[in-house]
Symmetry: C2
Subunit: 368 residues, 2 copies
């Protein structure tokens, strides 16, 4: 059985590595001949909206899925007409559009930061007045890892707002902007959830995430001092989203914890960086689970693997010395095989341990 | 960095899957275009002694290694002249030749069953008289999974011996035969060991193996009721072999436990079926470890992963229903992607659990 994957980066690569033991072969489509999933899977190279390539991608595949959410509409339409596509592309539409996403959160009773939409400079001034400062102004569409956003400090004046507008609309790729009130959160968490073709929903333990320069640096699972009440709240958020979207596959929701309550920041309709720890830290990894979901197989166990605690560290910009890392006890290296570049996610390392402190101490040694 | 592997079966496939997270790419050579490592690695198809193909195999590879021991001499000679080959092919020579192997065991103080060599029918009668009956007559070279051997019952007569000779020399592929006294063992064990380029030796906990129809059916790790004394004896055997052969990589030794003592049955100079449990059951799998060894990287931790107990079940001849297997809690499926055929190893399943009984009970459910 073949899984067709749109995109051939590290997420597709880890899907392919998880699929092989299940007897699943992976075929990816990516514009780059250097796409690293090609090291372990069949790689088709070309544009995402090339019908001849999409035909080859879907040919004989049991299901088509995605490693990223910004899939061109023409692509999803073609695939929907020729194959089984999971998760349903309506979830991509939500993930591509911050307004749609936040509106859906609100409809489902999921808390968010205050937000307001703005298409013009004047509207942005009004939106910032509505949500107050400090705030973050983002493009309504696209943008990830801190790109496509500008932070406005407390008391930011008209000039600062106008400068943010100019920055975010330069190049003309922003359909509109969204101003989000700045949340003084106690910590950032994420919930990773999966829904099978039969509608069964499972979640993994909540993860605490730490960002540096707008990029995820470290995830700790389970989140320290995790109250069952908080996990239940996150599980309800995830289940509401999955069911509303009739979603099949793995989905991640980034959350803020504020005074013991959760606010949703954004969702990712795919396997997610904050779930990479599941490869060794959970009985069933997010990659295997996504494949189980989209192929209609029984869902796997999302409990912590034997050791009980996991910490994942991203390896960004340049790879640390491999021999040094591998000499650390119990460190699991994941080198994506990518060329180094500033700010680029080149790999991650996961440590599993029998205590929170031990996992974190070892993770600190990974970072050197 | 590229690992070149002679052979493209399931062992090469699992080496490739273990190499990818270390940033290692895998290139295999196999006579069959259906070789299953080709699903997750570059596959060259052709004869093992084709110099043009060997050139392509070795081109740019950091190291060449093997997934099987019966490598043609011409192949190893070519590779030795053009690349780094690990483990050193002298170990293949030992593993290919039961007489050489058993003689080496004896030289190193490793116990074996009584044995005698025979090139002719008359010599086989003499050899059987020497070791006594019951005994097993095997071809000196080749043979695995119960092939290339005939068992002689207690009191077997000349006609039975002559028939064994005729069976094993039919087709003329046997250089000679070896008669091995039948050992009334208490159980079959194996020790899996690895030696780095720096000479460091590590071993995994001893495994108890159960064969059916001459093929490995189940491995349990650690072996039940494992006395530290027995593990120490096995560790000494493995270390003596590894050091004598100046071996680099993973090696397995199949053992009989007889009255609290160990006898060596045979060695395999490669990753081994009785070590497949290490993928989930040990901190570092045999596949990752072999790659760490041959690439000169620090060796990994051979301790049991968090859960503490693992049982591996081979899936032979036909695959059980995948959905049924995946519905069992904590079962890790490894489908090699091969076509079904009677007696063929198509995959394995490993269960990890916090107790011996739990692991075995779950493994029994895998077998249905």
């Amino acid at each position: 059985m073949i899984t067709a994957v749109l995109g051939g980066g590290q997420l597709a690569r880890m899907l392919a590595l998880a699929g092989a033991p299940l007897g699943l072969r992976t075929r990816c489509l990516d514009p780059s001949p250097d796409a690293v999933a090609g090291h372990v899977a069949e790689l088709l190279v070309g544009a995402y909206d090339d019908p001849a390539l999409l035909q080859r991608l879907a040919d004989g595949a049991a299901v088509c899925t995605f490693e990223f959410e910004n899939v061109p509409v023409a692509t999803t339409e073609w695939l929907m007409g020729h194959s089984t596509v999971l998760p349903h592309p309506r979830a991509l539409g939500v993930g591509q559009d911050r307004l749609h996403e936040k509106t859906l959160f609100r409809e489902l009773g999921i808390g968010t930061a205050p937000f307001a939409i703005a298409a013009t400079r004047d509207e942005l001034r009004q939106a910032v007045a509505t949500v107050g400062t400090p705030c973050i102004v983002k493009t309504r569409r696209l943008g990830y890892d801190g790109k496509g956003q500008v932070r406005l400090a407390a008391g930011a004046d008209q000039a600062a707002i106008d400068a943010a507008f100019a920055t975010l609309t330069a190049g003309g790729y922003a359909h509109a902007l969204i101003a989000e009130g700045f949340v003084r959160f106690d910590r950032e968490l994420s919930v990773l959830a999966a829904r099978g073709r039969d509608g069964r929903v499972v979640t993994w333990p909540l993860v605490q995430n730490e960002h540096e320069h707008g990029i995820l640096a470290r995830s700790r699972a389970p989140a320290p001092q995790l109250e069952p009440r908080l996990q239940r709240e996150a599980d309800l958020f995830a289940a509401a989203l999955l069911e509303h979207l009739d979603y099949v596959g793995v989905l991640a929701v980034e959350l803020f914890e504020v005074g013991g309550k959760l606010l949703a920041n954004e969702m990712a309709p795919r396997v997610h960086n904050s779930g990479h720890w599941t490869i060794e830290g959970s009985v069933c990894s997010q990659f295997e689970q996504h494949l189980r979901c989209v192929h209609g197989l029984p869902l796997g166990d999302t409990g912590m693997a034997g050791s009980g605690y996991a910490t994942m560290v991203n390896l960004i910009g340049e790879m640390p010395d491999r021999a040094r890392l591998l000499a650390l006890p119990g460190v699991h290296l994941h080198d994506y095989g990518k060329s180094p570049r500033a700010g680029r996610k080149l790999g991650h390392a996961t440590v599993v341990a029998a205590s929170r402190d031990e996992a974190d101490a070892l993770a600190a040694r990974v970072r050197g």
